[in-house]
């Protein structure tokens, strides 16, 4: 196959490209430029799209003996990821830009361009497994990225390759070392790439302006503080609320709700965070199989979190998840990913059923 390896300049995409080459594919490395003015380490950037990162990716391609190009997706990125990030925060929701980038850029703009130019697939360094067109968690559960890939459609997945799904991160680093890649020991990137200094709050204030409002106690209905921007808060947050007066009962208070129109942030006791019903729209079945509803599932409700058991139903195209036990810190705007629900062929030695990505949707509201 003719494979386009998306190369961030990190160790994962480098090894993924190497594995694609060694599998016999005709591979071309492409680094996506996502910023009009890429920063450098000298200018303080430590995200994943610096000039140094493009250089690192190029050096890996040199070693692999494959062509390398930089493709400019800065406009798409600005329109589809950065603008979405800002408007979601402005609406009081909590977006996941990495997931949006996968959905709109890597497996859309990049994939579309690759297909049009004669490639068969896009290969990335994501930790996830693709087996017979179905998406599963990676072997390395600590690194698993199936959550941020779960919004991909069967068609997008049909043109995707995730060669790292069967490997652990230490194995990937060892493979990079064995191949002499300079990026073998390069640190993982955790920051949002377009907020290079890692100060998300500062970035939002800079882009959205200060939007002061009231912090209201859910129990008494009383205003107990002011804030300078509701987008600094996320559901379930406790730290940094800036409340000088303790609650009447002395219990810790958490952000329970954000109302963008009145700019009101509601705080209250932990029990107010309890969610038993989660409703999500923009539903995708990445494996292409729509199961019979209702169905028992394991649900992941944010990028770095465990799963909770529950029963899912599909009502008018909307996913309704009833949880077995109350979950906390569930924020609209985040993505709900449902695992399980389909039993892989019992005879095969493939992944367990609870590793299978059944469906994903964007959380629109929650209920107690």
């Amino acid at each position: 196959m003719r494979v386009l390896a998306a190369m961030s300049g990190g160790v994962d995409s480098a090894v993924a490209a190497a594995l694609a080459v060694e599998a016999g594919h005709e591979v071309t490395g492409v680094h996506m430029a996502l910023s009009r003015t890429p920063g450098t380490l000298r200018t303080g950037s430590r995200g994943c799209c610096t000039v140094e990162d493009a250089f690192d990716a190029r050096r890996v391609c040199d070693l692999l003996g494959i062509p390398f190009y930089v493709w400019d997706f800065s406009e798409d990125f600005l329109d589809d990821v950065v603008a979405d990030f800002l408007s979601e925060y402005a609406a009081g929701r909590t977006p996941n830009p990495c997931l949006r980038c996968n959905e709109k850029i890597k497996f859309a703009a990049l994939l579309d361009r690759a297909i049009a130019l004669g490639f068969d697939a896009v290969c990335t360094g994501h930790y996830a497994r693709l087996i017979d067109g179905a998406l599963y968690r990676s072997v390395d559960l600590a690194k698993d990225q199936s959550y941020v890939l779960a919004v991909l459609t069967p068609d997008q997945l049909a043109h995707s390759m995730f060669p790292l799904g069967e490997l652990t991160k230490p194995q990937v680093r060892a493979q990079a070392r064995a191949r002499g890649f300079a990026v073998a020991a390069k640190p993982d990137s955790y920051d949002i790439c377009f907020i290079p200094d890692g100060d998300t709050h500062g970035y939002l204030v800079d882009k959205l302006g200060a939007r002061p409002g009231a912090v209201v106690d859910a129990t008494t209905g009383e205003q107990i503080a002011e804030h300078d921007g509701f987008f600094a808060y996320t559901i379930g947050q406790r730290k940094g609320l800036g409340l000088s007066r303790p609650a009447a009962d002395g219990r810790p208070r958490y952000v329970l709700g954000i109302e963008p129109t009145t700019r009101t942030v509601t705080v209250g006791p932990a029990s107010g965070l309890d969610v038993r019903l989660v409703v999500a729209d923009r539903v995708v079945f990445p494996g292409g199989r729509r199961p019979d509803f209702p169905i028992r599932v394991q649900a992941q409700l944010r990028a770095h979190g465990g799963t909770v058991g529950g029963s899912a139903d599909l009502v008018d195209g909307t996913l309704r998840l009833s949880l077995d036990q109350a979950a906390r810190g569930v924020a609209p705007g985040q993505t709900m990913v449902l695992y399980g629900g389909a039993t892989p062929d019992a005879a095969s030695a493939g992944p367990a059923a609870d590793q299978y990505v059944l469906a994903a949707g964007t959380i629109v509201r929650t209920g107690g």
């Binding site: 062509p67 930089v70 798409d76 361009r113 004669g118």
Partner: protein, 400 residues
Amino acid sequence: MTYLDHAATTPVLPEVIAAISQAMTLTGNASSLHTSGRAARRRIEESREAIAAALGARPSEVVFTSGGTESDNLAVAGIYRARVAADPRRHRIIAPAIEHHAVLDVIEHLVADAGAAVTWLEVDDFGRVHADTLAAAIAENPADVALVTVMWANNEVGTVNPIRELAEVAHTQGIPFHTDAVQAVGQVPVDFARSGVDALTVTGHKIGGPVGVGALLVRRDTPVTPIMFGGGQERSIRSGTLDKAGIIGLAVAVQDAVAHRVERAVAHAALRDELIRAVTAQVPDVQLSGDPGAGLMDGGPSRLPGNAHLRFPGCEGDSLLMLLDAAGIECSTGSACTAGVARPSHVLLAMGLPEPDARASLRFTFGHTSTIDDVTAVAQAIGPAVQRSRRAALAGARRR
């Protein structure tokens, strides 16, 4: 492999490799006073004289540098600083926006750091600077102009400028005139004295010489403040141990370029015209950017004979480049590459082309190793590549 990027760099001539290899075996710093030093100095001076003779300059007017970028920087910054030192009112630099970054960026630097002002000259649709445009720019205030710099021939679209006429316009006001002739040498007649310019940039690697060596031809009466300081070589204009082997190689290349200029110009123009014809047969709406190439300029062609700069409407130059690269054809998008991110060419934008047109460009440039087989290879590959590139551009447009 079909190499059609000779304007980026052209293969080193075998006789240059031989001369450099031989020179590398000789010990001796040209600044040393002993026998080896004198021997090195002699070879360098012979090279200087050969280069001067080939380019219509005096030996004392040849200042060796590390190449085109340094020569451009030395000319612009050096003349600017000397002119300002003599009269602080002269702080304005006049240049067209189509210059190479080696000129543009040193001007920007002088504006940011050394109190310079700049007047960007308008160019016509071919990318050419007209004498009346320059005269009008100078007339805004003739007393405040430090220097004028206009490239002899544009590296992207190949348009040749009326350098003699432009230098005359500057000289009527006593203003020094620099030209970047990196692309012109070997392609059009370049005679330093006859052109009337005060400073002229030459580099080795565009004419079959080595990378990393070039020269600034500069008149003895043109004041230049050095930008490199040290041992006082090159009349103290450019310190640094002289690169004996590189300079010897440069001399061989310059002599070769001038000696074979006419025959190569005829051959390259024929290949270029055949390429344009063959590509047009496959892609009927392709368009040539820059001067059409039929005219004359100062006794030479009005367009660099080896340059075909083509626009493929509906395509993206960088995807075309990748597809042709995969088919074994090497060319250029001709645009400046900032951190590897393709930007629409500042030259094409200055010529008034809209951004999508500017992005839809490929530059094919012929050189001394080019043959008709190169044209045939492009003719075979270009049709499918354009189709795919258009599909990719449409896929991108649909998403917006």
